[in-house]
């Protein structure tokens, strides 16, 4: 039985195994909601309604802002690029795996690094950014696979994420006043806390 009858579009794994089995694994990233704006709009709406990827994007921007201007400069290319790559991989490979728990754990780690005030060099940030974005985008992409207009939905997501990144980076880029640096860590702790609660929630409600 579909636990969210108003939503459509179970992932391929969900289709093959049935919702009761697949739901706990895929649901945080798996739904496409018909917006009436076509696949492009549906892809963007998915980001808003199931915002795990958005939390990751926000967390990465905050972490980059703590690291320095060099890390921030790469974000407008890194984030949409990694999302496109991971999403295309997901479209091609279909669903599998790690899914919600792994994605939420990655978001939690990024939030924790931000809350702890960790400053990463540009190269380390590049590795971490791509290493977290691509798996999450892969899962999100695999959730789109099989839908009509999946590629358009993915491109809608990429553009939405690019716009979000472009909006977030300039005001957060160094040099920052002290209060803003503190704000970054506070928001990082919120992302960590939400991620931890999500992990427990997923463990608590496997069905």
């Amino acid at each position: 039985m579909n636990p969210h009858p108003t939503l459509i579009g179970p992932a391929p794994l969900g289709s093959s195994l049935g919702w009761p089995v697949a739901w706990p694994l895929v649901w945080p990233l798996a739904h496409l909601v018909p917006t009436g704006l076509g696949p492009w709009g549906d892809g963007i709406a998915q980001l808003v309604l199931q915002p795990t990827p958005l939390l990751l994007v926000v967390g990465l921007v905050l972490l980059a802002a703590q690291g320095g201007a060099a890390s921030c400069d790469r974000l407008p290319l890194l984030i949409p690029g990694a999302w496109l790559l991971g999403g295309l991989l997901g479209l091609g490979l279909g669903a599998e795996l790690l899914q919600a728990l792994a994605c939420t754990a990655l978001v939690t780690v990024i939030g924790l690094l931000t809350a702890l005030g960790v400053r990463l060099g540009p190269r380390a940030f590049l590795v971490l950014g791509a290493g977290t974005l691509i798996p999450v985008a892969l899962v999100a992409g695999s959730a789109l696979a099989g839908h009509p207009g999946a590629l358009a939905a993915l491109l809608g997501q990429v553009v939405a994420i690019a716009v979000l990144t472009a909006l977030l980076v300039p005001p957060l880029s160094p040099p920052q006043p002290r209060w803003r640096a503190v704000g970054l860590r506070v928001v990082g702790s919120w992302i960590t806390a939400a991620g931890l609660l999500m992990l427990a929630w997923l463990a608590r409600h496997p069905q």
Binding site: L112, A115, V186, W190, A194, L196, L197
Partner: protein, 164 residues
């Protein structure tokens, strides 16, 4: 909305959250921001334990104690070392998170709920910090101490109720 409303649904929780901000303001930087950073993360750990049904004894007493102790810290303007303050707040956060975790509803969107829940908690800390910052003004110090006394009294009331 449920996530936003949940942390403010109990007076014992509300006064303790505000007291964290108040005490942070009394202690000044870096405790001013370290306590509100540490609290939600440990609270989420406690929430996770509550969600998973891991038993923790004396939760209601711990919550009541948190209000009483934090209120006294503000009232008496106790300047504990940073690590002591962080550890104390973390222990209390565990109790608050646990209580919230056991009460989280099973339906809805858990991520949005969790985010709203954490943001509401952070907003209460912010309220405490803003109230605490009135110490810079004439009479502000007394006002903050009075706020601490009120929190301590509320905590005491809940403690007596929990022990009954």
């Amino acid at each position: 909305m449920a996530g936003l409303l949940h942390p403010i649904s109990g007076l014992d929780h509300v006064v303790a959250m505000v007291a964290v901000g108040l005490w942070g303001a009394v202690l000044g930087p870096p405790a001013l921001w370290l306590l509100p950073v540490a609290f939600p993360m440990v609270m989420a750990l406690g929430g996770g334990l509550g969600l998973l049904g891991v038993p923790i004894p004396g939760v209601e007493i711990g919550i009541a104690l948190s209000g009483m102790v934090l209120g006294l810290m503000v009232l008496l303007e106790i300047r504990a070392p940073l690590m002591v303050a962080a550890a104390l707040v973390a222990v209390f956060a565990l109790f608050h998170g646990y209580a919230h975790g056991t009460e989280l509803p099973a339906g809805g969107n858990p991520l949005l709920y969790s985010l709203a829940f954490v943001i509401a908690t952070g907003s209460l800390h912010l309220l405490g910090i803003l109230l605490g910052e009135t110490r810079r003004w004439p009479g502000g110090r007394r006002f903050v101490q009075a706020a601490g006394a009120s929190v301590a009294l509320v905590g005491l009331w809940f403690l007596l109720r929990a022990l009954r």
